[in-house]
């Protein structure tokens, strides 16, 4: 049974599209990273030898991303996927804000801008931790 409760509101389809693209891209990168990691260390995973891929020694920071990608580290590809996933909701808010701005719904567009500024603040505060 397919539900059809109500017509989507202004901007909803655009936001849905952005979430689909971002979610799909992020998940694809994560999957690719896991596949590369298995290709590199599958033997170790099967026998439990080497560094535990799920342990504390395998953590990565955002600042490790560029270097990790340059050296083709599988963890960095997964991390990139995680970043794309984390950025997707923000892209959704940008899309909603833009749609509302075009529809001259200034208050709603203003609220979207405040949410985006708070996300930027989160990134800034996280970097100083």
């Amino acid at each position: 049974m397919k539900a059809a409760p109500g017509a989507p509101e202004a901007g909803a389809r655009q936001v849905a599209l952005v979430l689909r693209i971002g979610g799909g891209l992020g998940a694809a990168l994560v999957l690719a990273g896991l596949a590369v990691s298995f290709a590199e260390s599958g033997g170790g995973w099967l026998h439990g030898s080497g560094v535990d891929p799920l342990g504390g020694d395998a953590t990565m920071r955002l600042s490790d991303l560029i270097g990790g990608l340059r050296h083709g580290r599988a963890g960095a590809i997964v991390l990139l996927g995680a970043i794309v996933l984390a950025a997707t909701p923000a892209a959704g808010v940008v899309t909603a804000g833009y749609t509302w701005l075009r529809a001259r719904r200034a208050w709603l567009a203003g609220v979207a801008v405040v949410v985006l500024l708070l996300l930027v603040l989160a990134a800034t505060l996280g970097a100083t931790e």
Binding site: M1, A3, A4, P5, G6, A7, P8, E9, G11, A12, R13, V15, A16, L19, R20, G23, A27, V30, L31, L34, S37, F38, G42, W45, G48, P53, L54, G55, G56, A58, T59, M60, R61, L62, S63, D64, A74, G75, V78, L79, A82, L85, A86, T88, P89, A90, G92, V93, W107, L108, V111, A112, V115, L118, L121, A122, A123, L125, G126, E129
Partner: protein, 278 residues
């Protein structure tokens, strides 16, 4: 268990938790952190780091369908995100300074409170007058959605936005602190305080969880509390589960799900409290 089997098992379990999280508007984190710590013996902080990524992934997977079908109220979601994101930033920063035992205890208490919320019988408020709300009027938050059944489509008026914002700040703080979606607090805030229909509340909560989770995820990623392969396995499982859950929302009887969820929630809550207070 070797790492490969562990990754496969974690992904499989996260399919189930993502499905339940999407259906109930809770986000998968409510189940993911207890599963990773209690069943797989992983470090609490790393489990939260993985969970917070999965929360965003699950929301991105489930929300498009809810938006397309008109379940989710985008205006309410973005308006309330001002409060949840503020709370999430505070919570995520605080989490870095709390001990693991304290996190276990807080998690156990939050799950117990969530269980109590679900135990409370929801009164039928049809016919009751909805107080006027200038904030909801100014932001045009009112909408159209389902009542008790899928075919029961009717307009609804949003009220007590200020109360909702206050409750959402607390929900955001818990989300940032524990790496969960805090849907157990968001859904009642919209359903009971702001008078949104239950399915609109659930779908809107799912949408909001992504933005709240993103605020926390940035902090965890910056701090180095994320193990990529763990977060990846958890996120993939959650994405698959959330997609399944979003398809089931319209057809699954909510009553049966609530009972199953309640039992699981109570068991996990007791286990977490025992660890925290031991």
């Amino acid at each position: 268990m070797n790492p490969l089997a562990e990754i496969v098992a974690i992904t499989a379990v996260c399919v189930l938790s993502g499905c339940l999280g999407s259906l109930l508007g809770l986000g998968g984190g409510t189940f993911v952190v207890p599963i990773l710590t209690l069943a797989f013996g992983l470090d609490m902080r790393l489990a939260i780091g993985a969970s917070v990524i999965s929360v965003v992934a699950g929301s991105a997977a489930a929300s498009p369908r809810y938006l397309d079908e008109g379940f989710a109220n985008l205006r309410v979601a973005v308006a309330l995100e001002v409060a949840t994101v503020s709370g999430a930033i505070a919570g995520a920063l605080l989490a870095g300074h709390l001990s693991t035992r304290a996190l276990y205890t807080v998690f156990g208490v939050v799950l117990a409170v969530s269980a109590v919320q679900m135990l409370r019988h929801r009164q039928d408020r049809d016919g009751l007058a909805v107080p006027d709300d200038p904030i909801a009027d100014a932001l045009s938050l009112h909408g159209t959605g389902t009542g008790t059944t899928v075919r029961d489509i009717r307009p609804y008026r949003v009220t007590r936005t200020a109360t909702g914002l206050t409750m959402m700040t607390a929900a955001g703080a818990i989300s940032g602190l524990l790496g969960i979606g805090s849907g157990a607090m968001k859904v009642p805030a919209m359903d009971l305080a702001m008078r949104l229909p239950i399915k609109v509340s659930t779908a809107t909560s799912n949408l909001m969880i992504g933005v709240t989770g993103a605020a926390s995820a940035v902090v965890y990623l910056q701090r180095g509390d994320v193990v990529p392969l763990l977060a990846g396995a958890v996120a993939l499982g959650t994405v698959v589960g959330a997609r399944i859950g979003s398809r089931l929302l319209a057809v699954v009887p909510a009553g049966a799900l609530r009972v199953i969820f309640l039992v699981v929630l109570l068991i996990v809550s007791v286990q977490m409290l025992l660890r925290g207070l031991a």
